[in-house]
């Protein structure tokens, strides 16, 4: 990351001056003077110190299963921690506590998962070995791919266009894994979202924006890198 000499570190901005200006600026004022027109950056520096999260919707066992799923879906590696540390179970619990439809999807799905694990391995999901857990998830991913291919084809022939509601899925071809496919899709999308919207995930992916600058520049090193790898080498 070169060439960012024009960066104004957010910490350098005098927040009090900004807040004062904004307090003076009534709704009707609209604009603020340039000299003080720096931003209120809400909690940009660091994640707020979190107290212990109080689980709202799920049982202790359900919440633990969500945590294990978070560790498997976005695992820790040499770059960053897992989705568990990034708060995925808390995210799913909070939204489920606000939405009966979502709660139903997760209560039902988690129960289905344990029932299926018991049928296969005579163990609940969290008590199974990692190999058994990933076998289960691999089966769901495989069934999901088959199902998705079919849905994509079908979508093309439906003129309706926008499709927003996952609960309208038909899972006819997924066989006995049908309910699991639907649940895993929800669990994965929300776990992945929780991870990449957390400070851990944002750092992992390498997003370096959301700042205030006096000038915009594109680093020459990045231009050279991409040009060399493109068809426009010259």
């Amino acid at each position: 990351m070169s060439n960012l000499s024009n960066l104004v570190p957010l910490e350098a901005l005098d927040r009090r001056a900004v807040l004062k200006q904004i307090a003076l600026g009534a709704a009707a004022a609209g604009t603020v003077e340039m000299a003080e027109a720096q931003h209120v950056h809400e909690a940009t520096a660091a994640e707020k110190a979190k107290g212990a999260y109080k689980v709202k919707e799920f049982t202790a066992a359900e919440f633990k299963t969500l945590g294990r799923l978070a560790q498997l879906i976005v695992p820790a590696d040499d770059v960053s921690a897992s989705a568990l540390e990034a708060g995925a179970p808390e995210f799913i619990d909070l939204l489920s506590s606000q939405n009966a439809k979502l709660a139903e999807i997760f209560h039902g799905g988690l129960a289905w998962l344990d029932a299926e694990m018991n049928r296969r391995y005579e163990k609940s999901f969290v008590n199974a070995t990692e190999k058994q857990q990933t076998e289960m998830l691999d089966a769901l991913v495989a069934a999901d791919k088959v199902e998705r291919t079919r849905l994509t084809e079908e979508a093309g022939y439906r003129k309706s266009g926008r499709y927003n509601d996952f609960t309208n899925y038909t899972v006819a071809r997924a066989g006995s894994l049908g309910p699991g496919v639907k649940f895993f899709d929800w669990c994965r999308r929300m776990t992945v979202d929780a991870f990449y919207t957390s400070p851990i995930g944002i750092k992992d992916i390498g997003f370096v924006g959301n700042g205030a600058y006096t000038k915009y520049e594109t680093p020459q090193a990045a231009i050279d890198y991409a040009m060399k790898r493109s068809p426009f080498k010259a």
Partner: protein, 571 residues
């Protein structure tokens, strides 16, 4: 029957709507010392409370999925939780209907500043030929004005609003008075190289964002979040740049939560004011004015005029021609994305910039129509870069790679390697696309609602197919591969849903003859001299340029005319 309360004050102008047209009218008229009342169907805007600029997704417990994960169910805000207060295609209690066999979706904002608080801020002048399309290819209709009539007002609007761009001498997209634009990002440089090889013009974008201070507004600080609203007003919005300063003069009275119902007339061919519903109390109220300016958005303004029925105007106000509601247009939209391996592993840098693309492609075949199977043209908008992660950003990687360590690795590798292209093209106005009052339905304010009819024709479908091929050529030219829609999906959904591009214009078009048009070249109704329409309703055609800048310029010109006519006692 108790009398409806009315203002004692008779304003020089009553303006309905506070967006691009209404905001411009409020600014221009108060600058001339005229007193105006500005009606807005939504609440007052407080940028410091409502603009979610610079928030991180983790600043809110739901991370942007909204309460109860509404985003997951398609019930969140249209452009995501962090976008600014802006209304949507469906408003609670304010329905509209769509005729059988038609598809149309109607976006409405209900807040001071309207859609200018969040819009894309692309600011392109119409070209000379855009005002005379019928003369050029025999389709549609010519405007009663020419480029030379509006050019001085493009100058005024650009100077006041502030547009960053570069002067490129391209006849299809005339140069304006610009602030210095920011340099292109890496993916945009690749796009430009690919366009160079294909003979497609690719130049600095033109957006209503200032890159040097202007009238107390700060220069852009390159956070790229214009869609969330800009607290420093570096990105133009009519609320911050026009309405709030107009209020400061003491000459502009804003009546918020005021849903205009009809324009009132005196039986002698003149308007006397506006009857509106105060949404806070559900009371009917009257605001009196020497002139009335409708700027409620194209269709909403026509709705008000059509609902303004009297003995004198049985078909609605200014509708003697029967043209009110006719020739509704939206922009032709089509999008395609691609994956560019050359960008894999690039050292990450900040791609926020001034929001939106730093380059764009103006229509490059304006003089080569003999080589095409469709009339008119389109411009191309570019997407890409290392965007701020949000809800849904990594769904693609998750589905492709299942889960686990490999998925995490692939998400990292693919981040920032996608480019997207959106075509924005011109439709030909047609008789199947119009709006009318649905006599069977009223909204929660008791006002009869609009019924929409809309059809794309072969002209538009063929243009969309040309977009598709062009975008695929650009992507493969960069060494990339096309992702996104399958062939079957394109066949079904290969063109935007009418209304979804939110460039709906027309329905009160201007023209030389009172027999075939609603307005004259000054946005004044042919029939009622003190009634004007200053939003997109006046458009005779809908060129491949986003409409806002032209709405600003037309409104400015109309206000100069209105003020002079008022002074002379002609209106």
């Amino acid at each position: 029957m108790p009398q409806i309360p009315r203002t004692t004050e008779e304003y020089d102008a009553v303006i309905i709507g506070s967006g691009a047209g209404g905001g411009t009218a409020a600014h221009v008229l108060t600058a001339k010392g005229l007193k105006v009342a500005l009606l807005e169907a939504g609440p007052m805007l407080d940028p410091y409370k409502e603009f979610k600029e610079h928030q991180w997704p983790y600043d809110v417990p739901h991370r942007g999925a909204d309460e109860g994960g509404a985003e997951y169910f398609g019930k969140g805000k249209p452009f995501g939780y962090f976008s600014t207060t802006s209304g949507g295609w469906e408003l609670e209690g304010e329905p509209y209907t769509v005729g059988e066999g038609s598809q149309f979706t109607w976006f409405r904002s209900r807040i001071v500043g309207g859609r200018t608080n969040h819009y894309g801020r692309m600011s392109f002048r119409f070209s000379e030929y855009d005002f005379k399309p019928y003369s050029k290819d025999g389709l549609g209709f010519d405007w009663p004005i020419s480029y030379s009539d509006i050019a001085p007002y493009y100058d005024k609007a650009e100077t006041f609003i502030g547009i960053a761009g570069s002067r490129d001498g391209i006849p299809s997209c005339p140069d304006g008075l610009f602030h210095t634009p920011p340099p292109p990002r890496v993916h945009e440089l690749l796009v430009k190289k690919s366009c160079d090889n294909l003979g497609i013009a690719c130049v600095a974008n033109r957006r209503a964002v200032i890159t040097k201070p202007l009238n107390g507004r700060a220069a852009c600080h390159y956070c790229g979040q214009c869609g969330r609203g800009c607290q420093t007003a570096s990105a133009y919005s009519s609320s911050q740049v026009q309405v709030f300063p107009a209020m400061k003069t003491g000459l502009c009275k804003v009546l918020d939560m005021a849903m205009a119902r009809e324009v009132l007339t005196n039986g002698n061919g003149k308007a006397t004011g506006v009857l509106y519903v105060d949404k806070r109390t559900r009371e009917h109220k009257i605001v009196r004015g020497k002139t009335v300016i409708l700027a409620a958005s194209a269709c909403e303004s026509s709705r008000i005029l059509m609902n303004s029925k009297s003995k004198e105007f049985p078909n609605g106000l200014a509708n003697g021609s029967g043209m009110l509601g006719r020739y509704l247009m939206d922009t032709v939209g089509f999008g395609l994305s691609g994956y560019v391996p050359a960008l894999e592993g690039m050292p990450h840098y900040n791609t926020d910039g001034y929001g939106g693309a730093h380059l764009f492609m103006p229509w490059w075949m304006w003089d080569k129509h003999n080589k095409l199977d469709f009339p008119r043209g389109y411009h191309i908008e570019i997407g890409g870069g290392y965007g701020m992660p949000g809800i849904g950003s990594f769904q693609g990687a998750a589905r492709r790679y299942g889960y686990g360590a490999e998925m995490k690795k692939q998400a990292r590798l693919a981040y920032g390697c996608n480019v997207g292209f959106a075509g924005r093209g011109e439709m030909i106005p047609n008789i199947h696309s119009y709006t009318e009052i649905d006599n069977n339905v009223v909204d929660q304010w008791g006002i009869p609602v609009l019924k929409f009819h809309f059809k794309w024709t072969d002209y538009e479908w063929k243009q969309a197919r040309h977009m598709e091929k062009t975008f695929a050529d650009i992507i493969t030219g960069m060494g990339g591969r096309v992702t996104g829609l399958s062939a079957a999906q394109r066949e079904a959904d290969g063109i935007s849903i009418p209304g979804s591009i939110i460039h709906e214009v027309g329905t009160a078009r201007m023209g030389a003859s009172a027999k075939t048009s609603v307005l004259n070249g000054y946005c004044q109704t042919h029939e009622v001299k003190n009634v004007f329409v200053m939003d997109g309703g006046s458009f005779v055609s809908n060129p491949d340029k986003n409409p806002t800048l032209t709405i600003n310029a037309l409104a400015w010109r109309a206000c100069d005319y209105l003020a002079e006519e008022l002074r002379r006692g002609n209106v």
